[in-house]
Symmetry: C2
Subunit: 210 residues, 2 copies
């Protein structure tokens, strides 16, 4: 559809009711599970129990619906990060980072997997999210690594990315990781063991004997 055409104007309805919310929930799950492109508007509507034409009424288009899901997921994500940071009242330990991760990623599988899709899609939304994450990680590093001699400027620069990759790795690889591990990578006990191992790596590396 590249040429202009007279179409019925359909701006997004700001106040959606039950059906609108159901569409967002269904889309969140299906986008997270199958990806945006592989999910059809009819699938979403069927799962939400409404006609697929209603999607256009509430959200103008499939993309409009994705925007709504983005808002939902990225909003609650930001909120969870905020909560986690606040909880770490006594900063200075890496345990906080572990707790924060659990809080943010453990909660809702759909939201977690949707986040994965956003990061993996490789579009503007991905780099925007990654940018936020990098900034957050850089602040953490500056706050935690206080000794100016423990890292060169270059290594300090990469430290934020290293922490991020350790945390995001399981998120990005979740589906295959589940197969390789033979179980849910975000099951609380698994997540705890992984976080502990991460803390010890960041603390002492792999070779330092206890």
């Amino acid at each position: 559809m590249s040429y202009a055409r007279a179409v019925t104007a359909t701006r997004p309805r700001p106040n959606r009711g039950e059906a609108g919310a159901a569409l967002v929930v269904a889309a969140r799950r299906l986008f997270a599970e199958q990806g945006y492109r592989a999910t059809t508007t009819r699938q979403i509507a069927a799962e939400a129990g409404v006609s697929h034409a209603l999607l256009r009424y509430h959200f103008s288009s499939k993309e409009g619906l994705r925007d709504a899901v983005d808002e939902d997921v990225l909003g609650s994500f930001g909120q969870a990060v905020g909560t986690a940071v606040e909880e770490g009242v006594a900063p200075g330990t890496l345990a906080e980072a572990g707790r924060a991760t659990a809080l943010v990623f453990g909660a809702d599988p759909d939201r977690r997997r949707y986040l994965r899709r956003v990061l993996v899609d490789g579009d503007d939304r991905s780099s925007a999210l990654l940018g936020r994450l990098v900034t957050g990680a850089e602040n953490e590093i500056d706050r935690l690594v206080t000794d100016p001699d423990s890292l060169s400027a270059e290594d300090r620069r990469w430290a934020a990315y290293q922490v991020l990759f350790l945390i995001l790795g399981p998120l990005l690889l979740e589906p295959s990781l589940e197969v390789v591990l033979g179980g849910d990578p975000f099951e609380p006990s698994v997540l705890a063991a992984r976080s502990a191992a991460n803390q010890r790596l960041l603390q002492r590396g792999l070779f330092d004997p206890r």
Copy 2:
């Protein structure tokens, strides 16, 4: 297409000529850039300079073509890993891991990005590849971390994944990372700095002053 139908038998031609190779190259690039689903057979044929019907002749179907690309990329990947491992004649240092990474990921952007797609797709091919990578990393860890006291059994188990996440992170996030870094994450000097930082992290953690 769920019901049986009489169709012309078209088994994959084992010996493809120039055109077949051109199709593989084009598909490799386009799948890597846009993903399998988002790439149309007509796009591939156009880039290869042949009719889109030829695809079916040589590869039976779009999936058949993907199988051929898989073989190409995963084959050359396995070979590169082999070379890198052989090159590390004097094992025991982590420098080897750095060189191996460069060799494997630095070579061909198309192949690198295709590898990313395979890992991110989340299907059987993903878990198979990840399984191979985990096994390789576990062997490296066993070979490099000889002191039985430096890691608990649990931490040792996770060490392979940690190393993997540090290496795969930039691969999985390449498109957004390029935006955030403001440059190619696999440019040799960037890769070298990152590898060096990784080695120091694995050696001493983030907090140990030099």
